[in-house]
Symmetry: C2
Subunit: 338 residues, 2 copies
DNA sequence: TCGAGGCATGTCATCGTTGTCATTGGAACA
DNA sequence: TGTTCCAATGACAACGATGACATGCCTCGA
């Protein structure tokens, strides 16, 4: 660096300091190009106390919903010149806290968190680290959440099924300790109330931590004296378990509505009706929201949750009529099929 | 830090320096616990010249195959105490090079790359940065690749179809500039040769950069004078395009074999026969391979590609017989369906 | 012509950690 | 008891960048 022209005025050039003569700046830039010089992020981070990186904490990137969420976050932030650090919490709240703390330690400019529970970061001392929660409402001083209208969408989902004549509707979900899940249950209950349907706890399965639990839940639901004629799954991962389970037990005549669209949904028989709370949009808006907070002048940022619109994609499975009351299992096979 | 007991002997404790008295070590550890002290990664990285982080470069994390590959890499490395930096190249080789260079700049302990082409890193000066290529063979001095037996698996796939009587088999793929794709083409051609089938360039579509190109390719294939009776897609993403396309044009009577398994494959009608080159396993082994190279004593590491075993999952679509020769498009609808 | 003022640039210290070398104190040996 | 030696610890510089401050020079006005 010293070879070409000036000494550590180079720093000023890098930081766009206006007090550098245009000629000098040009010379320095030329020299940097020639030497293929790149500033050292570690040194910069150490001295300046900030780093052009953003930490992202999610449950697990393997999940299709999460993958697409993360993809859009990464794409946006990386275009903005940030290095993206992604770590999975594997649904362990203490791990989630530790990861966020580590991100702060690493001087991340900000973090985007898909929280395991509202108060997962409670009591953490993060200084003025900008925090944006995504897909699930989180609580943290000064933070902002980017979510879907879980209550409203679940209510619409429930109403969609009741409007097709269903009165025994089961809901398959993970634990209600997850805020999003709780809201979806609430919306579902509201829809049932709207339709004058009595709440039946037998039809509520909030014990499906992942798709591997779904098979048993489905079996048990159909073993009930009055089995459901319709099902709702509260997240994409569980839908990916429900569909094969219905096929396996030959009960694809059951109406099914998926929370979260997924690949192949339209090619299945029946094609799957889904609430599309676009992970792509969610991620994009979360990234934008964080970027806005990283702007130098960002002071009066809102902390109100941002609700990203979503819609119902009608494809068939959600519009199946209630199966005629019968105890004959052969009715599971649609008439006309060979 | 100075408050409790000793001064910067703490560094020795952190680095497990044997020349620290057990009693002192205990006191320091206690003090660190009490003060919730955590070493600063930036300072450490700056001074020590290495960082407990690993860079991962993939095409795009949104892809289901990639997501699951990355998930297992992340899981393994993060358990080993490494911070994982994930960046997508979006299939841009120059971007890929820049990302890897940036990783080196950041003093990553090593990188895992899903290369856009064999020689994508050619000429890059990375010092002794350990490089592991995954899913695709890459070339770089001292690197190692963790891949599937693309040639062999594609050959098996082709033979599977010919053994069911097909002689007009189309292959749908992305560009053959991707090494993996090229190998799969080669295996496919070999299978055709094995079966004494003349190569027909009309049946080779290597212009499907992503699923959005598939629809047109399928249309054109079926518009041929002698349309194919069977199809192979060379990657998961394209399969996700082929299946809906076949449903759309009502040609699900076409035999189909997917390279790469995917969710819902078994619930489709027909269920999809697939080569399962487990991304989970691939990722895990790539991570292990890199970790082995990060061991202090790792000198004589092999640079031979590691081939991860995979298998054919028979589900139905790949075993459909050739459609009887007819020009009547209504034959596309299986007899007996309404 | 001289001084004030501002622009352009340089000097120095510093971020938190670790490598190198110096220092201390006590045990072991002659 | 004196000397040697080693184990345990401390002092100091340095990694590469930047913030605070100092300096030099040129312009402009009196």
């Amino acid at each position: 660096m010293m070879a070409e022209v000036s000494i550590k005025t180079a720093s000023r050039v890098l930081n766009n300091d206006p007090s550098v003569a245009p000629a000098t700046r040009a010379k320095v830039l030329e020299a940097m190009r020639e030497l293929d010089y790149r500033p050292d992020p570690a040194a910069r981070s150490l001295r300046a106390g900030r780093d052009r990186s953003v930490g992202v904490v999610v449950e697990g990137i393997g999940d299709v919903f999460v993958a697409s969420l993360v993809a859009s976050i990464e794409s946006r932030l990386s275009d903005a010149g940030y290095q993206v650090l992604i770590t999975s919490s594997h649904r362990d709240v203490s791990r989630e806290r530790a990861i966020v703390q580590d991100f702060q330690q690493r001087r991340c400019a900000g973090v985007i968190v898909m929280p395991g529970s509202e108060n997962s970061l409670e009591g953490l001392r993060l200084g003025d680290l900008p925090v944006v929660f995504v897909d699930r409402v989180g609580e943290f001083p000064g933070s902002q959440s980017v979510v879907s209208d879980d209550f409203g969408l679940a209510r619409i989902a429930g109403q969609h099924l009741t409007s097709h004549g269903h009165r025994r509707i089961a809901i398959v979900s993970d634990s209600q300790s997850v805020p999003t899940t709780r809201d979806r249950h609430a919306g579902f209950r509201q829809a049932m109330a709207d339709g004058g349907i009595t709440f039946d706890p037998d039809l509520v399965r909030d014990d499906c931590l992942d798709e591997s639990y779904v098979r048993d839940a489905i079996d048990q639901l159909f073993a009930l004296e009055h089995p459901p004629t319709a099902l709702i799954a509260t997240n994409t991962r569980l839908s990916l378990g429900v569909v094969p389970a219905l096929h396996l037990v030959g009960r694809t005549d059951t109406a099914f509505l998926a929370f979260g669209d997924f690949p192949m949904a339209e090619s299945l028989t029946p094609a799957i009706t889904a609430i599309d709370h676009s992970p792509h949009r969610l991620g994009q808006i979360a990234a934008e929201t964080l970027l806005a907070r990283l702007e130098p002048g960002a002071i009066d940022v809102s902390t109100e949750p941002i609700v990203v619109p979503a819609g119902l994609i009608v494809r068939g499975s959600g519009e199946l009529p209630p199966r005629p009351t019968t105890q004959n299992p052969s009715a599971a096979i649609p008439a006309g099929a060979t």
